[in-house]
């Protein structure tokens, strides 16, 4: 249960960072235009966190089953982040 929640949490934060790394959503989130370097950092952090989210799954189940769980969790994370961005005023 705990590894699964860890994956869920990490991929959500990763997916959110990826979104905030995009100009439009950065402004949505912080309410100010973004410096280019910060966008890049956010995106990088996003990809790294999403990749890292695979580890708890792989350890809890095995490399193969963990992969399927991880992909499913990324689906949820993307839906959740998009939903939350949509409910914040631009």
């Amino acid at each position: 249960m705990i590894p699964f929640l860890l994956t869920l949490f990490t991929s959500f934060i990763g997916m959110a960072s990826l979104a905030i790394g995009m100009d439009r959503h950065y402004r949505q989130f912080w309410g100010a235009p973004a410096p280019a370097m910060r966008l890049k950092h956010y995106r990088l952090r996003g990809w790294v966190l999403m990749a890292a989210a695979y580890l708890p799954c792989a350890l809890e189940w095995n490399a193969a089953i963990g992969l399927i769980v991880w992909i499913g969790v990324l689906t949820l994370a993307l839906m959740a982040v998009a939903w939350m961005l949509a409910s914040t005023r631009p």
Partner: protein, 487 residues
């Protein structure tokens, strides 16, 4: 738009619409089929007993089988696991058509279960629409069109890849639907590609039978026989005392690990040539292959075992395993459930977008009415039909003869009625059917709690899910479903 783009859009939109009438019901029932044992448990109105050790379960089952079917040529015992807490025994001469009984884990006495197809109804409908070989053809064709629609959709909506977080619910209705169509498609894309592809692979033998015809003279069983070793021998007709089954179980656990046995099959029990075959559980690996060992029923000596597989067969069964998802526990089941429903949502929105566009162009002519009615039946109609099936399961008296057929009839009757209703009422039918399905879900959940579901964890959880899905359906049908052409 380029000519290629136009062609792709035509394929995506019309291929998607025409086959969505099959695909959406298949996706919805497939998502429910992930929970087949739980649904069966709910539909049989069982209450779970305490968890017992495999050895205790085998001893109880053996005792019951000895009194019940001592002369049957085959016995089968399904051991309880995390999902099914009761013992299922079967006996007869044909392993495909056995008499079955469910035993309670406390005393080993039979539990009265409601006669029903249970959760298998959804699996069966998902696989071939209950039509047999023609159904498999239809579902297979729909799967191939789905693959084409996924790829062409990715090419048409390629802009979504630049920013797939776009969701503007407050924009025009068309914008909001299109955003959600793209978003759910992208989010579930890995799952959708995987599930559709593996689904087609499972059905491939049906629509590409050439290899079976040439190599096995059209006999499907021959392929299986070549891959799965069977260890059998003729009955000797010398009655002998067999070793207790729990000893065979212990021997099998030395191969598969403690708790690794999922079921036992006993051939010619009580005979000198009796054999006990133990199957390993399949829920801890992707590949749906059941390793098995056989022991001499009298001496307990190893008679044969299969723990390695033809690599091609193993790869094929991995794809089957990916599709049926027996691995990974509740996490995988819920993820498959949500991803499947997300796929159905994506197709629903695509259907609505096309219908709306066509209505703007050609008004409410006869073909438009027919298209809208069929789409309505395949989306809100199937939800209502599933809810009606669950309701009929609890309403039809348990002792009524032929109640299984009645349940199936109710499902198809309601589905057909939904199509007619949609043809008659036009777009108002969406809202009516969704609201009815939502109310029915709530009532069924409540009714089950009242009928004793409150004492059983699985049934309580199912009822809770019914309430939640009823509520979501009620709210969303009120807010979002409308084919009005005004923004």
């Amino acid at each position: 738009m380029s000519a290629l783009g136009k062609a792709l859009l035509g394929l995506h939109a019309w291929g998607g619409l025409l086959f969505s009438w099959v695909l959406i019901p298949v996706f919805i029932t497939g998502s429910l089929a992930v929970f087949e044992p739980e649904m069966t448990h709910w539909m049989q109105t069982q209450t779970a007993g305490p968890q017992v050790s495999p050895a205790k379960a085998v001893a109880l089952a053996e005792e019951r089988l000895r009194t019940l079917a001592s002369d049957a040529p085959i016995w089968r015992i399904r051991l309880p696991n995390d999902r099914e807490t009761q013992i299922e025994i079967g006996w007869g001469s044909n392993p495909r058509r056995m008499e079955t009984e469910t035993l309670e884990t406390r005393s080993g006495s039979p539990v009265p279960v409601r006669e029903t197809t249970g959760g298998h109804f959804f699996t069966h409908f998902h696989a071939d629409l209950l039509l047999g070989a023609p159904g498999r053809w239809i579902v297979g064709a729909a799967g191939i069109v789905m693959l084409a629609a996924l790829i062409s959709g990715l090419l048409i909506h390629h802009r979504v890849l630049i920013d797939f977080f776009t969701l503007r619910p407050r924009a025009s209705r068309r914008r909001a639907w299109l955003d959600l169509h793209n978003l759910s498609g992208i989010a579930a894309l890995p799952f959708l590609l995987m599930i559709t592809y593996t689904g087609c692979v499972i059905l491939a033998e049906t629509f590409m039978p050439a290899a079976t015809q040439v190599l096995y003279e059209g006999n499907h069983r021959a392929i299986r026989a070549e891959v799965v070793k069977t260890f059998e021998r003729k009955r000797s007709d010398q009655p002998t005392e067999n070793l207790p089954l729990s000893e065979h179980l212990a021997a099998a656990e030395t191969f598969f690990g403690a708790g690794g046995v999922s079921s036992l099959v006993i051939r010619n029990p009580g005979d000198r040539a009796g054999l006990v075959q133990a199957y390993r559980r399949v829920d801890d690996r992707l590949s749906a292959v059941a390793e098995h060992v056989s022991f001499d029923a009298v001496t307990g000596a190893l008679f044969g075992r299969q723990q390695d597989w033809n690599p091609m067969a193993f790869a094929y069964r991995t794809q089957v395993g990916l599709h049926v998802a027996h691995f990974g526990g509740p996490a995988i089941r819920w993820l498959y459930f949500f991803s499947g429903l997300l796929g159905a949502l994506m197709m629903t929105l695509g259907t609505l977008l096309l219908l709306r566009k066509r209505r703007q162009k050609s008004g409410l002519d006869l073909p438009q009415r027919a298209l809208e009615a069929l789409s309505c039946a395949s989306i809100s109609g199937i939800l209502l039909a599933c809810a009606a099936l669950l309701a009929s399961n609890h309403l039809i008296p348990a002792e009524l003869a032929g109640r299984v057929t009645h349940e199936t009839r109710v499902f198809f009757f309601v589905w057909g009625a939904c199509a007619l209703h949609a043809l008659w009422r036009g777009e108002r039918a969406w809202h009516t059917q969704c609201t009815l399905a939502a109310l029915l879900c709530g009532l069924v959940g409540f009714g089950d709690l009242w009928l004793g579901g409150i004492d059983d964890a699985t049934r309580r959880l199912t009822d809770l899910c019914l309430f939640i899905s009823g509520l979501l359906l009620f709210v969303s049908s009120r807010r979002y479903f409308s084919l009005e052409t005004q923004p």
